[in-house]
């Protein structure tokens, strides 16, 4: 940018200008205030006063004001952040020039929280949120949450500050917070990044970033906003040339139509087709399209739960008898499966770590539709083990479903239809008694102390079953009871997991989801582990400060329980006699943290520790009343490990 006027040069020039012209020009560009009244103090000529007595002022629209114009044009509703000096210009522009609306500044107490909120927000709102992180240190804090979102193929707009010009950096601190290549920290876990050197470049990079991150396979993007670019005024000759590109009609990449026709042929030829879904549903239309295919071919669906793919009580949902279902299959249609190899193979956690094939039909045909191969990086191994497929169709699975439905309709004969309809009826019968069986199972743990996960889950269900609820948190540490016993009927009830299993996802991601649910008028209930909660307890302050309604239930097993099991397994394999030491380093006890007090300290209604299952209903009712009033609440429930 040859015409760029450096901040300090430009401001030095202002200092020599008449004060009256400074006063006349120092106005906000967006909401121009009325002309200032004449001062009763006569202006003092600049030449008559020492330079240090008259700090220079910024005149007119600044670079970061224009950056806010871009955020508004992209319809970014929220930007979560902890304040940092490398983006102070943009921060100020958001709250004053932009009037703190679209985006609204959401204050967090950790950058990991800011990024994880973006993750959860997108999965509910289906549109990206932004986070703004301090140069170097803030980005490093945010990196685990960015990795979770990357592994979960969820977009977020990460804005990082940076003071790119060494000559304008203040001594010491600004050097520590600047980088030659700010994005290097997260380049392996973002889809794209840029460090634009001009405002026009910034506009184009922001729109390109938005386009890339919201096109499957989706992932976070990082744009670095240079400090001088933010803080400098925009010279008039540059301002009139600035242009923000518009995103118009766009589509998602679907599978090749010829390959999809071949898939339809294979499915219609199968005797026992099965559909496996995992990171499949990209929109709320996804479940309906999936069911249409499943009903047409009479196939049971096994779901990996990384998205809300299918209602848990639909009779074609065979996820709770997944192995029996997959063993019968002679053709599997795998939709965004994430781990295709793991569908038919496993590595049991034994000393020798054997590679064991699962029991499958020897003539099994495997059709894979997904975006997994469309964005693979070299370093982090989230791409999983390579797997053979009989037919591999790169493309977004949900975008491909209409093509598959059309191909099935075209190819399906009357005889095919009769066969598929007959099979569909039989497949549905297999799940008829499932709910009853799960109710019998949960009865075994009904009165257990510490409180069992089954009891906790059903007490919560009793409170929400007549509400328009949404549960954004993972369920594997609750023995998946919600998927067994609740009625997960709407396409927005759940949103899958973290992606990379980076602990500390659930608590802040749930708040991001709650922020989106607040706009939709839905009730958010989040069950988080104590280990997860302790990674980001400051989330509660953000919830209270911004009045984001959410019920947090801490599933408090007073441990990193997964690791309790892991260390026990290690010790037993190695025949360590001194068993008492196996809890060293895995328990969160002695003293037991009081999560209700912590929550109260952050300004929330909270109760606990709750140790008797009979006390759950009353506590939940009281907390739910608070949440329905539009505020967050927390219950600390001392629970069984799983």
């Amino acid at each position: 940018m040859s015409k760029k006027i450096k901040r300090r040069q430009f401001l030095a020039g202002l200092a020599a200008a008449p004060a009256v012209s400074v006063a006349a020009s120092a106005t906000k560009a967006m909401a121009q205030p009325a002309a200032q009244p004449a001062s009763s103090v006569p202006p003092i000529p600049m030449t008559d006063r020492p330079t240090n007595d008259m700090p220079p002022q910024t005149i007119g629209k600044t670079g970061s004001d224009f950056m806010v114009d871009i955020l508004k044009s992209l319809d970014i509703q929220y930007i979560a952040s902890c304040p940092g000096s490398t983006f102070r210009g943009l921060h100020e522009s958001i709250i004053n020039y932009g009037d703190n609306k679209s985006p609204e500044f959401i204050t967090t107490l950790h950058e990991d929280t800011a990024a994880a909120m973006c993750h959860g927000y997108y999965k509910v709102a289906k549109k990206p949120m932004a986070c703004m992180v301090h140069g170097t240190v803030g980005l490093q804090h945010a990196s685990m949450a960015i990795y979770n979102a990357f592994a979960d193929r969820v977009p977020m707009l990460v804005l990082s500050g940076n003071i790119g010009n060494p000559a304008t950096r203040q001594v010491y601190i600004e050097w520590n917070h600047s980088a030659q290549d700010q994005a290097a920290t997260v380049r392996d876990i973002t889809k794209w990044d840029d460090q634009p050197a001009s405002l026009q470049g910034f506009a184009e990079s922001m729109v390109r970033a938005y386009d890339l991150m919201t096109t499957a396979p989706m992932a976070p993007v990082l744009i670095t906003a240079d400090g001088d670019l933010q803080e400098d005024p925009i010279p008039p000759d540059i301002e009139k040339k600035l242009h923000i590109p518009k995103l118009k009609m766009r589509s998602q990449p679907s599978g090749d139509v010829m390959a999809v026709r071949e898939a339809a042929k294979m499915l219609l030829a199968a005797e026992n087709p099965v559909i496996y879904t995992n990171r499949y549903a990209r929109t709320e239309n996804g479940p309906a399209l999936l069911l249409q295919v499943a009903e047409m071919i009479g196939a049971p669906v096994v779901d990996g739960h990384m998205r809300m793919n299918i209602s848990n009580r639909h009779p074609l949902n065979h996820s709770q008898r997944s192995e029996a279902t997959l063993q019968q299959a002679d053709c599997i249609l795998a939709l965004e499966p994430i781990f295709l190899w793991g569908l038919n193979n496993y590595v049991p956690d034994l000393v020798t770590r054997p590679n064991d094939p699962r029991r499958r039909n020897p003539n099994l045909k495997l059709i894979h539709i997904g975006t997994e191969s469309m964005m693979t990086k070299a370093n982090y191994q989230d791409f999983q083990r390579y797997a053979e497929a009989d037919l591999s169709i790169p493309g977004d699975a949900e975008a491909t479903m209409p093509l598959l439905i059309e191909a099935l309709k075209t190819q399906m004969s009357a005889a095919d239809k009769a066969r598929c309809d007959g099979r569909c009826a039989k497949v549905k019968e297999l799940t008829a008694k499932q709910l009853e069986q799960f109710r019998e199972r949960v009865a075994f743990e009904w009165d257990a102390k510490p409180i069992s996960s089954g009891r906790l889950v059903m007490e919560l269900w009793d409170q929400i079953k007549n509400e328009d609820w949404m549960m954004p948190t993972e369920t594997q540490f609750l023995s998946d009871w919600p998927y067994r016993l609740w009625d997960i009927d709407k396409p927005y009830r759940t949103m899958g997991g973290s992606g990379a299993q980076g602990i500390g996802y659930n608590t802040p991601a749930a708040l991001g989801a709650a922020l989106a649910n607040k706009d939709k008028g839905r009730l958010t209930v989040a069950m988080v582990g104590d280990g997860d909660f302790n990674m980001a307890p400051g989330v509660l302050w953000t919830a209270a400060h911004h009045k984001i309604p959410i019920l947090y239930i801490v599933h408090n097993n007073r441990a990193y329980h997964q690791e309790v099991m892991m260390i026990l397994r290690m010790a037993s394999r190695r025949q360590r006699v001194n068993h008492k030491n196996v809890y060293v380093g895995t328990l969160i006890d002695n003293p037991a943290p009081d999560y209700a007090k912590i929550a109260q300290g952050y300004g929330l209604f909270a109760e606990g520790p709750i140790t008797d299952p009979k006390d759950l209903a009353g506590a939940m009712r009281r907390a739910m009343d608070v949440v329905k009033r539009g505020e967050p609440a927390l219950l600390d429930v001392v629970s069984d490990g799983r």
């Binding site: 009865a443 075994f444 069992s452 329980h561 006699v577």
Partner: protein, 113 residues
């Protein structure tokens, strides 16, 4: 079917252990403490109700089958040899599992209707 065969084989193979229990009276209260101290609860739940990580242990298996699974487990459960859980301790843990009351009828639980 396969599980039944395995359990049957275990009954034969570990009849010696069964005889051992005849001479070892298990103590349910001690067994409860051991169930936690030895980490059984971590996968099977505090009352042996089972979880995603480990199967339900109630109603309790016959003692020989219980010991067979303890010493030479199927699946990924690590082996608990006599070095880690001696015969008396095994009998105590088994006594704890046997002492567990029958679960309530789910039809009697309002929240399960």
């Amino acid at each position: 079917m396969k599980i039944n065969l395995l359990l049957g084989a275990a009954l034969v193979l570990f009849s010696a252990a069964a005889f051992a229990q005849d001479s070892l009276k298990g103590n349910a209260q001690t067994g409860k403490d051991l169930f936690v101290a030895k980490g059984c609860y971590s996968c099977h739940g505090f009352v042996g109700q089972g979880s995603r990580e480990g199967p339900r242990l109630m109603p309790a298996l016959p003692y020989p089958a219980f010991v067979a699974q303890l010493r030479t487990p199927r699946t990924i459960m690590p082996p608990y040899t006599a070095t880690l859980v001696n015969d008396q301790q095994a009998a105590d843990i088994h006594a704890y599992l046997e002492s567990q009351p029958k679960p309530p009828d789910p039809k009697s639980i309002k929240l399960l209707q």
